[in-house]
């Protein structure tokens, strides 16, 4: 017997939370924590993210960077999911597309650039910034988030750990195992799923049949919510609730942020093969940055010239970071061998010498 009741009601049970409409007007009064200063700061961060994301696409096309995964269109999720966390006491476990959230958490842009340029130093978050390196294998990092939150809980701390994934990231077994562990052990993990409707070329209809991702929460008896991923105020609001729940021992939350990436999956991808131009345009009309700008402007203390100044400041900051990143030396031979273990094994020391000797013969020891 098919249980029609809840199924076809996935969308009713999990309505999309929205605070700010596309025209920049509010649907509900803002909570206290969303002060005007916070909103401006959030706006500033979204602009900065948009600028550097677009810059990276260019750098890659110029051959100055390796494969890059852009998030433009998803800035509300990137900023909103990380903004309320404490960098030194909470944790994030990002995917290749969540470098925006990493930056919000405190990872300098230079690191992110170096990562995509192909230097492991880019994966080394500053001390005091609990941003785990990017996990490429889909959904694996959701379990790390469970473990990090759980470790905090066992020590009596109110750690929150956010695990990121996309719509495609709900399909691997680790997604299920992570939600189940978080449920059974009631840990303060937040699963922040950016449903941008495609996993590379695969549309969500090929990824799952249920109308929402949020309804997966029912399977684990945990909290679940859908949110308008183009509305940063809504994302901040649901994150605020999820963080409160986690800190107060209320357990995990599954958040489905309904969003869209404007660009290709990565710079190796051509979205025209699988996505219609109209779909893109439809989403661009709901742009998260423009939406917040309208609201700020309507409030009367955000002018066009403020805006221009902000965008050009962002461009300058990004240019400086790019220059800094490009000036950094290539990773050394020592770095290749010295970080696998706390102490390199005799075997690794032998191999390091072997490689150094070879390079010395070959190029006069130019590197390392």
């Amino acid at each position: 017997m098919k249980v029609e009741t809840a199924l076809t009601r996935g969308e009713q049970l999990f309505p999309v939370r929205r605070v700010l409409q596309a025209d920049g007007t509010l649907l509900e009064p803002l909570p206290d924590f969303l002060s005007h200063d916070v909103l401006k700061d959030v706006y500033r961060k979204m602009v900065f993210l948009r600028v550097y994301d677009q810059r990276c696409l260019n750098l890659q096309r110029q051959g100055r960077m390796g494969t890059f995964a852009p998030f433009s269109g998803q800035e509300a999720s990137q900023v909103g999911s990380a903004y309320l966390l404490r960098p030194d006491r909470d944790w994030i476990f990002p995917t290749y597309r969540d470098h925006g959230a990493m930056h919000v958490m405190g990872v300098p842009l230079v690191n992110i650039l170096r990562y995509f340029m192909g230097d492991e130093q880019g994966s080394r978050a500053p001390e005091g910034v609990n941003a785990f390196p990017i996990s490429i294998p889909i959904a694996t990092q959701l379990l790390h988030a469970v473990g990090a939150a759980w470790a905090g809980k066992l020590r009596g701390e109110d750690t929150v750990a956010v695990g990121y994934a996309g719509d495609g990231g709900t399909s691997p077994g680790d997604f299920h195992e992570a939600l189940n562990f978080a449920s059974v052990f009631n840990v303060g993990a937040i699963f922040f799923i950016q449903n941008n409707r495609y996993a590379i070329s695969t549309p969500i209809s090929r990824q799952f049949k249920a109308p929402t991702i949020a309804q997966r929460a029912l399977a684990y008896d945990i909290a679940g919510v859908r949110v308008d991923g183009q509305d940063v105020l809504a994302v901040l609001t649901v994150m605020h609730e999820a963080i409160e729940r986690a800190r107060s021992g209320g357990g995990p939350t599954l958040i489905e942020s309904v969003t869209f990436r404007y660009g290709p999956h990565t710079t190796s991808d051509d979205p025209k093969r699988y996505r219609a131009q109209e779909e893109l345009e439809e989403w661009q009309a709901k742009d998260p940055i423009e939406r917040l700008r309208r609201y700020l402007a309507a409030q009367g203390n955000w002018s066009d010239s403020d805006d221009e100044a902000l965008w050009s400041a962002a461009r300058e900051q990004v240019a400086a970071a790019v220059a800094e990143a490009e000036a950094m030396p290539r990773p050394s031979v020592d770095e290749l061998f010295d970080y696998l273990y706390a102490e390199p094994t005799p075997n690794l020391l032998r191999q390091k010498e072997e490689l150094k000797a070879y390079l010395a013969r070959k190029e006069g020891g130019a590197r390392g």
Partner: protein
């Protein structure tokens, strides 16, 4: 005869197999309308439809396990794993099932399928996109393992793999996908599994390798000839299991010197097994220790350090020197 790149040859082989045998189905991520991230399945969905070119949810264990069930029930799945590192989530299905269904059921059930894995590094991709997964399965009996080095072999070996009654891990040198073109016959032909190719004859030393490093070895062999007048015999193993031991041992006995080349980490690579086999069958012929050219015992680095890690002709030449001047 058309000149095709290696990836075109793969695409051609899949088309030929699917036209010929309606039980051949493809499973993987983004293989339909997108034609695969490397375009191995380009346009196949147009000819064969979404029931035979199946875009799957993002779950390697899922489509590996489902493909096993399909193969057991009469289909011939060809699974594309998007990149080598993403075979890991399917490890349990591969190690504990795929490899042993015939053995476990004493022949009652079989699992004829092919797992295509774009393999190894050199394309400056992100982490986990450049692994030597052949060595994850070296010690797990029951999987045939094939690794072409050129378009002709790629097509012929893939057709042979699809027609094989047992599971085959088919490792494709992604770095060579578009590196060059070669003559590839139209229509059906096979290159049998288990036969190495002597791609360069020589009497001064034997170089054993497969996949992308056949080309590294050939480059080094030319340099050795030019610089030292040494003639290296370069053997493209083509298939790691079954392995053409006769050709390997015959050559080593002839030359008395051997270099093994693969880009996997040093410890526990197929290169180690080759040394062990030479020990077993030709030790007394050796004039020098077999030289290993391999990656190092660290993870494949991010792209700025790839060149430090992946063997190049210079390192192979050094190894040739080592076995010659021992």
């Amino acid at each position: 005869m058309a000149k095709l790149t290696l990836i075109q040859a793969i695409n051609d082989a899949l088309r030929v197999a699917m036209r010929q045998d309606s039980s051949v189905v493809l499973l993987g991520e983004d293989i339909g309308i997108n034609g695969g991230v490397f375009r191995a399945t380009d346009k196949l969905i147009d000819e064969f439809g979404p029931d035979r070119v199946i875009d799957c949810p993002l779950a390697e264990s899922g489509f590996m396990g489902a493909a096993i069930g399909m193969a057991v029930n009469g289909l011939k799945p060809v699974v594309e794993v998007q990149f080598d590192g993403f075979l890991a989530p399917a490890h349990e299905q591969v190690a504990n099932h795929l490899s042993r269904i015939r053995h476990r059921s004493r022949g009652r059930f079989t699992c004829p399928m092919v797992v295509r894995v774009p393999s190894w590094g050199g394309i400056k991709a992100l982490e986990h996109h450049s692994e030597s997964i052949e060595n994850w399965y070296l010690n797990i009996p029951g999987l045939k393992m094939v690794a072409p080095s050129n378009p002709y072999d790629a097509k012929g070996l893939l057709l042979a793999a699809i027609e094989d009654p047992d599971p085959v891990l088919f490792m494709e040198p992604k770095r060579l996908y578009r590196a060059f073109r070669a003559e590839v016959p139209e229509g059906h032909y096979t290159v049998p599994l288990g036969q190495a190719a002597v791609v360069r004859e020589g009497s001064d030393m034997t170089v054993l390798t497969y996949g992308v490093h056949v080309h590294t070895a050939l480059e080094a062999a030319e340099q050795a000839a030019a610089q030292h007048g040494w003639q290296a015999e370069v053997i493209d193993l083509r298939s790691l299991n079954p392995l053409d031991l006769d050709t390997i041992i015959g050559s080593v006995k002839k030359t008395g010197r051997a270099v093994v080349v693969s880009e996997a980490p040093r410890t526990g690579g197929f290169h180690s097994e080759l040394i062990a086999l030479i020990n077993d069958h030709a030790l007394e012929y050796l004039e020098a220790p077999v030289a290993r050219v391999s990656g190092f015992d660290v993870p494949m680095p991010y792209l700025l350090s790839e060149d430090l890690y992946i063997p190049d002709a210079g390192r192979v030449l050094d190894a040739m020197q080592a076995v010659r001047t021992y």
